[in-house]
Symmetry: C2
Subunit: 266 residues, 2 copies
């Protein structure tokens, strides 16, 4: 999907909500386990219930890989079921070099035709550039993550800046705001303002809202730009809003509530 189309969806739906399909067969409503493909049945119901309020779906590949071939089949069915006009993210956090990175790009841009894939930066330019070679396909590179361990390296001083700042600066120079986004798991106002100041034009994929403690007004109020500029991911807060027969209705209510909070800023 090209940037202009993503922006059109954001302002059309007045939403920057990304629903994270971290579909765990141990957490979905019991009655779905009778289905032939419980993971897909769950995702299909969640997508039907939330697509009106959502501009992106993020598939966390780990939950599918762990099931082996069955999981990859659920992933493929889910990807095919997501409406054309909604941005798709393979949250796979791949990172390797040269011909191996080419194979990962093929996996998530061709074999499974996502719009974007999350990428880890540790190995440097030759681990990121292979994901920037296809029209309308995006690399979403880890910048600042929202977990406790982000302090171990990302927040360490490296020369005149912190490591994550060095990463943002360097990676931004390898692509453009039309094929590169960053994972910015910031929940604090100052961090969000700082990163937006560093990168005025790029989209940020922002996890950490809901279960992880972040909130929509803080993110929208401090990290948006004229194109919206953020995709706020919520996983558990939407897909596990209820684990009963009413799970889809409750997911719809949760997604609508997030959308309504976002609409104020769009």
């Amino acid at each position: 999907m090209e940037r202009a189309q993503l922006v059109k969806q954001i302002f059309g739906r007045r939403s920057v909500l990304c629903v994270g399909l971290d579909t765990d067969l141990n957490k979905i409503p019991r009655h779905l386990l009778r289905e032939a493909d419980p993971g897909f049945s769950f995702n299909k119901a969640i997508i039907d219930a939330t697509k009106e309020y959502t501009v992106a779906y993020k598939i966390n590949t780990a939950f599918y890989e762990a099931q082996g071939i069955r999981g990859w089949e659920s992933l493929q069915r889910t990807l095919e079921y997501i409406p054309e006009d909604i941005f798709t993210i393979a949250d796979a956090k791949r990172g390797d070099i040269g011909n191996t990175a080419d194979q990962y790009a093929k996996t998530f841009f061709e074999t499974y035709p996502f719009d974007s894939v999350t990428v880890a930066p540790y190995m440097g330019s030759d681990s990121v550039k292979p994901f920037l070679q296809r029209k309308d396909k995006w690399a979403i590179v880890l910048g600042l993550t929202s977990n406790a361990g982000s302090a171990d390296f990302q927040l360490q001083q490296c020369g005149s800046e912190l490591l994550y700042e060095k990463v943002l600066r360097a990676v931004a120079s390898w692509g453009s705001p039309d094929n590169l986004m960053f994972v910015i798991g910031a929940t604090r106002k100052e961090q969000l303002q700082h990163v937006r100041q560093m990168l005025p034009d790029h989209f940020f994929l922002v996890p950490g809202v809901g279960a992880q403690g972040g909130d929509v007004p803080t993110v929208c109020g401090n990290a948006m730009n004229k194109d919206g500029g953020v995709l706020i991911n919520v996983s558990r807060g939407v897909i596990y809003a209820s684990n009963g027969e009413d799970f889809a209705d409750e997911a719809a209510k949760a997604a609508k509530a997030y959308r309504d909070e976002m609409a104020v800023y769009l």
Copy 2:
């Protein structure tokens, strides 16, 4: 596999050779494409031809993932075919947090029962520790890689040390030499000596020998310890020694030549 068994294999075979199964259907001998599972047929022949000289096989998951379900079937058949006494590495470079990292650990330790998986450190302790919870299973964490891009971040000054040194020091404190190895793609004598001095007891997975310019005497002469302490990975230099009908014989010769170079040090 526990450390003692790996060390026993190393001294029994007088080898630290790891053969990298970066099996690319565009590079394997044409005649194999007539087989039902060409990737597995190729790997099976390579394993039969090289297992006498090899203490580890490294499956580069990207080449299998890119083929979708077919690829995962080849991966599973290959893993099942590798002899019990040879150490197996899923070169998947996963890196994510908490419950997602648990899913990746499940993928490569249970769904596909490898002995070890390569892990990226950027997200910090909660992205590595989930791989250190199972008996006789190993995380092999990226330390210093051999690609040009390693200069972008790994070789940057971070406080009193380089980033990769900070990573080695921190990650080593999260596990032990019995469940933690590091990827050390060093080809220079001084680097190898320095890393061995920092971490006297850990095993290093060393790529970069052969096609990438490193050589066995430099690695063995500078990075080995009393247990061997290194696994030297060669991929193209063995599996693509020939792309004709004689590919397996040529792979055997190449593996034997590497083993003979290594035996001097064991």
